[in-house]
């Protein structure tokens, strides 16, 4: 038990690069790996590190997230001394504002921190897929007598310009810090995991806020580097930021690869099984005589009559006869008709696909409206889309939530 530390989980991000997946839900609430949501990984890491108090800072479309976290019980964060509290933006006598950035969100919740009088504050992001016992980080932070410790991971130097990059001394002290450098001098990237000694954090947040600073990476860390002991903690396990469609799809596919290092079962990831509004529980998945499934994850309530290959199916998906689903991620309760071909798609919840539909086949022309979101051939189908029979949809397409498709052809790169 760690009574002297509390965790703050930043779950406010809009995740705009995830396009329609994040249109109606916060990025940490996006389904992942059939039955999980992205935030389950950070929540489980916190729970498995025996940290007992968690504040979840939400802002963007928090409803699905709040429903998912519920009382905190799925992660054992529920009891007299254990809790998880949702911390949305609020109006008060002095402060009344939306969170302007990561450090501003924490600054606006200093009262929450003071309520528990912790010695240390762990600040983590809710949109990464990884497994980490924070106790090693905590021990390191204490041993180094640091005021702040950042988790760092080695990234390929060509990708380093996406991250905050640190240069560290032999003892591990951070000497230089640049946010998204054009010419990175190191490949040690920040994972967005910080641990602060409470007094130093409160002091620096007050100071930064006065000058209008709102972000940990841009405003807080540079100030602390000058005055405080700031250390880097090297992490070398599996870690993915699933902030883009490509990263999201690849990380899902990593579940199907034994050698990828993504080992949900061993990581003891916990999720909330209760689905609001359902009257009964989903029975286990049923596979008919005509089914053929290889290298796939199939969740409860699925009924499989067709072929499924290299795919991840969330609860309640139906795949009818003579249908082939491959290299795809399909969310809850989507129904796929017969004689359908689906390749390399991400299909959101409760989509209704008719018979003899083809999705994700054809030339890979980048999406015309969002070429930087979709160019590798993945097609996105939004929540509650309905697709009539005999329709062809190409690659890199985006079908917006709730629309009804009845034209016979949607070329690659279309947004509808």
């Amino acid at each position: 038990m760690n009574k002297n530390i509390i965790a703050l989980l930043l779950a406010g991000g809009a995740g705009s690069r995830l396009n329609i997946l994040a249109r109606q839900r916060a990025k940490p609430a996006i389904p992942f790996g059939a039955i999980y949501r992205i935030i389950d990984f950070t929540m489980s890491n916190i729970a498995n590190s025996n940290i007992d108090v968690v504040g979840v800072l939400t802002q963007y479309k928090p409803l699905s997230l709040m429903g998912h976290i519920d009382s905190g019980r799925p992660w054992d964060l529920c009891g007299r001394t254990r809790l998880v509290e949702i911390l949305p933006p609020k109006t008060g006598e002095e402060i009344s504002d939306w969170y302007k950035g990561t450090s501003d969100a924490v600054y606006q919740n200093l009262e929450f921190i003071e309520d528990f009088c912790p010695e240390l504050v762990l600040v983590v992001s809710g949109d990464h897929i990884y497994n980490m016992n924070y106790n090693k980080l905590i021990a390191y932070h204490i041993k180094k007598k640091a005021d702040a410790t950042l988790c760092l991971i080695q990234v390929p130097i060509k990708d380093a310009h996406h991250f905050g990059i640190a240069e560290i001394s032999e003892e591990g002290e951070i000497q230089k810090w640049t946010e998204k450098p054009k010419k990175p001098k190191s490949n040690l990237a920040s994972m967005g995991i910080y641990i602060f000694s409470k007094e130093s954090l409160i002091h620096v947040l007050n100071q930064v806020a006065k000058k209008g600073g709102v972000d940990f990476a841009k405003d807080v860390i540079p100030v602390m580097l000058n005055k405080n002991r700031v250390f880097g903690f090297n992490f070398s396990g599996y870690w993915r930021d699933v902030g883009t469609i490509d990263a999201y799809w690849n990380t899902n596919m990593d579940i199907l690869k034994k050698e990828s290092g993504l080992r949900i079962k061993d990581w003891q990831i916990k999720t909330n099984h209760f689905v609001k509004g359902k009257i009964g529980d989903d029975p286990s998945a049923y596979f008919s005589r005509s089914s053929k499934v290889s290298n796939s994850i199939i969740a409860r309530g699925c009924i499989i009559e067709g072929h499924v290959q290299n795919s991840i199916l969330s609860p309640g998906v139906k795949v009818h006869r003579n249908t082939a689903v491959s290299d795809s991620v399909v969310f809850h309760d989507t129904i796929i008709g017969s004689n359908v071909v689906i390749n390399k798609c991400i299909i959101d919840k409760s989509v209704d696909i008719g018979n003899s539909v083809v999705i994700g086949v054809g030339k890979s022309i980048p999406n015309k409206i969002f070429p930087n979101h979709l160019s590798t051939g993945i097609t996105l189908i939004g929540k509650k889309v309905s697709i009539a029979s005999n329709i062809n949809i190409g690659r890199n397409c985006i079908i917006n939530p709730g629309v009804h498709l009845n034209k016979s052809k949607y070329e690659s790169g279309t947004t509808y």
């Binding site: 059939a34 949900i264 199939i298 969740a299």
Partner: protein
């Protein structure tokens, strides 16, 4: 439904299910992968809007207590709603085990009197069916009955049931428990609704008798008052009194006679997820006409079978016409045919179990085990290369030392 309190009879021990009920009550027996048998009656009660339920349990209640938990899974939690396990207890003057279904209720009259309800619904916890109890309750109230008993028609004649004779207006005019030849087509589902005052009076009257069962002692004695009615239920109703009926009921799910999604059955989703949650099933083998639960890893072949959570079927292994409970590991090239295998077992490499054409019944349980089913108890370890014949029972944690076990054996 404020006017009805429900009692679930979940106590009985049944030897006919052999080692499957050695360490658990029959109503706690796993079924269809993730459910336990008692989920059906609890879900029926929930959907009928019943607020309070007492579960009468005596035989090995541990797994049942854990499964029911706080009752939240069936919404039996709140200021006015609750579920209570009612075990036998010691009083000032004496203490006793439940001597029968009626005695179990008799010993809990003080629980019944806590509630301000006019009627008591009594259901058995070991039947598999989906029934809307509301018309049943309404019928009982409209007929101003002292007692109403639910009957159903069975395809196969059996002497295991109570049979009733029903007149034109629905009154029960004759009843016999386990008769040598059936009185009619209508068998009792051990589903009753009583006026509370009437029930308490009749139980007190019968309290001194040597036998204290509803079917044998109470029902035959109340029909002469002409205020006992019968309610006919005509949908799917199954039971698991024997290994054969348990097996066939499971297989009814594969022939889609049972639609669990439409029935809206609920279960305890937290059970056996102590450390992490179970992932969804990971499939890289051939699965045909089967149910595969969360956390299963399938690399071999599974056909006409039902797998509970966490079962592993290794490369080259074949599971056919079988029911495999939680966390059992079936290793490389093992072949299982018509096997019911309890939890946490390990079937070693190249093991062969079962033979569909087996004619020899079990030597010890010839009337219970003759249809070619093999039953493996909890935590059975079958060493590599072992061959086990059909109609065999292996009791929990028994040590298997022979490389070849003949058909019809019993191993303890």
């Amino acid at each position: 439904m404020n006017e009805v309190l429900a009692l679930v009879l979940a106590g009985g021990r049944v030897d006919e299910l052999l080692c499957l009920t050695e360490k658990r009550a029959k109503s706690a027996l796993p079924v269809f992968g993730i459910y336990r048998i008692i989920d059906f009656v609890l879900s029926n009660l929930m959907h009928a809007g019943i607020n309070n339920v007492g579960v009468l349990s005596q035989y090995r209640p541990h797994s049942l207590v854990r499964h029911i938990g706080t009752g939240e899974h069936w919404d039996f939690i709140g200021r006015k709603r609750g579920i209570r396990i009612l075990p036998p207890y010691r009083g000032l003057k004496g203490s006793d085990w439940y001597k029968g279904t009626a005695d179990a209720v008799y010993q809990n009259i003080s629980y019944i009197e806590e509630f301000n309800t006019d009627h008591i619904l009594i259901a058995s916890g070991d039947h598999i069916y989906r029934m809307d109890y509301k018309p049943f309750i309404k019928y009982h109230i409209e007929k101003r009955a002292d007692a109403t008993i639910c009957f159903t028609k069975l395809k196969t004649k059996s002497t295991r049931f109570g049979y009733g004779i029903i007149d034109k207006i629905g009154r029960l005019t004759g009843y016999l428990e386990k008769p040598t030849s059936p009185l009619s087509d209508w068998v009792s589902m051990t589903l009753y609704i009583f006026k509370k005052k009437f029930l308490i009076d009749i139980l007190k009257k019968n309290a001194g008798a040597s036998s204290r069962e509803f079917g044998r002692d109470i029902i035959p004695n109340i029909i002469s008052d002409r205020k006992t009615f019968a309610f006919k239920f005509k949908k799917y109703w199954a039971y698991a009194r024997t290994i054969d009926s348990y097996y066939n009921t499971n297989m009814d799910f594969l022939t889609r006679k049972i639609n669990l999604s439409a029935w809206q059955i609920r279960t305890n989703l937290f059970e056996r997820c102590v450390h992490g949650d179970r992932m969804s099933a990971s499939i890289n083998g051939a699965v045909s006409n089967s149910v595969i639960s969360k956390g299963c890893i399938i690399e071999g072949k599974v056909k006409n079978s039902i797998l509970s959570p966490g079962v592993k079927v290794g490369c080259g292994a074949e599971v056919v016409d079988s029911i495999i409970f939680h966390d059992t590991k079936i290793e490389l090239n093992a072949k299982l045919n018509k096997v019911i295998c309890d939890k946490d077992s390990r079937i070693g490499k190249n093991v062969v179990i079962g033979n569909p054409g087996e004619k020899n019944p079990s030597a010890e349980f010839s009337n219970l085990l003759s249809s070619g089913i093999t039953v493996l108890g909890r935590k059975t370890t079958v060493p590599n290369n072992t061959v086990i014949g059909a109609n065999t029972v292996i009791y929990p944690s028994a040590r298997i030392t022979n490389q070849e076990i003949k058909p019809g054996s019993t191993i303890r």
